[in-house]
Amino acid sequence: MMAVATEQPAADLREPAGWRRTKNRVATVLMWVAFVCTLVPLGFVLVTVIAKGASAISWQFLTKGPIPPNVLPVTIGGMGPAVVGTLEITGFAALIAIPLGVLGAVYINEYGGNRALARLIGFMADVMTGVPSIVMGLFIFTIWVLHFGYSGLAGSFALGCLMLPVVIRSSYEMLRLVPDSLREASYAVGATKARVTVTVVLPAAIGGIVSGALLAIARAAGETAPLLFTILVVESTNTNLFSGPNTALATQIFINAQQPFTGAQQRAWGAALTLIAIAFILMLAARIVTARFTRYTR
């Protein structure tokens, strides 16, 4: 096959020879086959989750608690505590990670220039996106849970650590697209750098930053591993993020998936559908923000 590429091309303007055309066609078909191969599992998962989850979901399932023991059917109790837990834990994680991430990106792009430190931070943020989520869970366990106990807050910290590098990366990409002429115009009328950044640069890039942040939240909402060792598990709603064990949809799916009882499995499917719906809504919101509020694109 390599021979084709290195072969001396003949000065021949006829159509490619039959076998060359065939090879080209086979390659194209294989590429489409590969694409279909990625769609098959996606389609299967979505269809299964929707089919099995829809029968479990009801207003009671989404809002009521407590989460009943495994053996009970899905009509008793509900996943309300897990929905509340997921929303408050993910929400607080976003509250921590998004401002810090955007500020970090501001440092790299606005203050860092070509400094080695800024390049190091950018590079390490990329590396940090590759740290397994379970390691983040162990990290928060050793540094926080061992001293202050299990709480939703600890879960928020773990999710925040996962979101931080993602937010830095996406915000940095957006800040980079803001043209320098905007900044220079602001300096020319005497604004300080902080003022230029906050009132000119960030607003110019806000569409991309928000959509990147929404995608980061969507990913974090589905994380399970970092929550296992940080929030533990409870059956009833714990609205206090700062103390006492909590629970979340993702961890509930993990626990219930391992049960042989139909009730538990149905609860897992219902929770899975809820979680996917949350993630897709966030992703859709990100797309809408990108389409409507992005001023500069690549």
Binding site: M31, T38, F44, L100, G113, I134, A272
Partner: protein
């Protein structure tokens, strides 16, 4: 990156110009705030290494290198050899890479070289949907739907067909289980496909148009153009993308924990039940204490080190190859 620094008013301080004045406090405060947020990344990475290592010294010092890499894992008798889990992690990630890489690279080529740009967008959205499905949902589907199906309609047929044949028999022969190394490998492959595809696409997009047009001008078919112009340019970058996918596959926890079968065995049989490092941490941590817990955290440290090394290498390769291409 940007030439803003030239316009930095702070740079003018010290001159005799009437513009000179002290930089306002808020301005400096904001800079410090931004710097601190940036430094947080480095602080967290260092803290991860320090705090997890601290909590696992019990295991590292007691077990020693030989103990760590033994296959004897028995919490009841305080034996914590991690070999079976390291083995499972390697095997499942290798299976995932072997399945995911050809598919991802093919889709990346399809997106950059074959379909028109306005079609490429919806395809990218679809591939990104794969990444938005949470890993626990893949695990749930994997164990309740996919594993039973593939065991009865694929594994068992293959196993009975190859049983007795020397090499194939020892890889694909019985025992057969739905939750197995191979099932975990397939699920991991699906999960890393989006990231490998998008990074490969990024790399392939930097191939200079002039090279591609040159290949076409010489009469190459599209496939010959890909082999002759695109591939030599993007080879290194794709290797980086594959390494990043490998890092993801090694650290993926919940899906693996649900579909790998949870038995600490070292076997060449890919359809047999196994275990991996992240999976055993997730499953056993809640009940673990003392040295047991130290061993699990210690495996987290190994995992952290492994993924950091893989990621450093991968990011370095990707960065270098995209920069060289853009500069060209």
């Amino acid at each position: 990156m940007s030439s803003v620094t030239q316009a930095d008013p702070a740079k003018q301080a010290g001159s005799a110009s009437p513009l000179t004045r002290r930089r306002p406090l808020g301005d400096r405060g904001f800079q410090i705030l931004a710097l601190a947020s940036g430094l947080l990344v480095l602080v967290i990475l260092v803290l991860i290494a320090v705090s997890t290592t601290q909590q696992s010294t019990d295991w590292f010092s007691k077990a020693g290198v030989k103990g760590i890499f033994s296959t004897d894992w028995d919490p009841a008798t305080n034996h914590f050899g991690a070999m079976a889990f390291v083995y499972g992690t390697v095997i499942t990630s290798v299976i995932a890479i072997i399945i995911a890489v050809p598919v991802s690279v093919a889709v990346a080529l399809l997106l950059t070289e074959v379909v028109p740009r306005r079609w490429a967008r919806p395809i990218v959205y679809l591939i990104d949907l794969l990444a938005v499905v949470p890993s626990v949902v893949w695990g749930l589907w994997g164990i309740l739907v996919f594993a039973p199906w593939i065991q009865s309609s694929v594994y068992s047929h293959i196993a009975s067909a190859v049983n007795g044949i020397p090499l194939l028999g020892s890889l694909f022969g019985p025992p057969v289980s739905g939750a197995s190394f191979f099932t975990a490998g397939i699920i991991l492959a699906v999960m890393i496909t989006p990231i490998v595809t998008s990074l490969s696409r990024e790399v392939i997009a930097t191939v200079p148009v002039i090279d591609k047009e040159g290949a076409y001008a010489l009469g190459a078919t599209r496939w010959e153009m890909i082999r002759g112009a695109v591939w030599p340019h993007s080879q290194n970058g794709v290797v980086g993308a594959v390494l990043l996918g490998l890092g993801r596959a090694m650290g993926e926890t919940i899906a693996a924990a649900l579909v790998i079968g949870s038995s600490a065995t070292v076997t060449s049989r890919l359809f047999a039940t196994g275990y991996s490092m992240p999976a055993v941490i997730a499953n056993q941590f809640p009940e673990a204490a003392g040295e047991w817990r130290a061993a699990l955290i210690g495996m987290g440290v190994l995992l952290f080190a492994l993924t950091i090394i893989v990621n450093l290498a991968a990011r370095g390769i990707v960065e270098r190859s995209t920069r060289r291409m853009r500069g060209a």
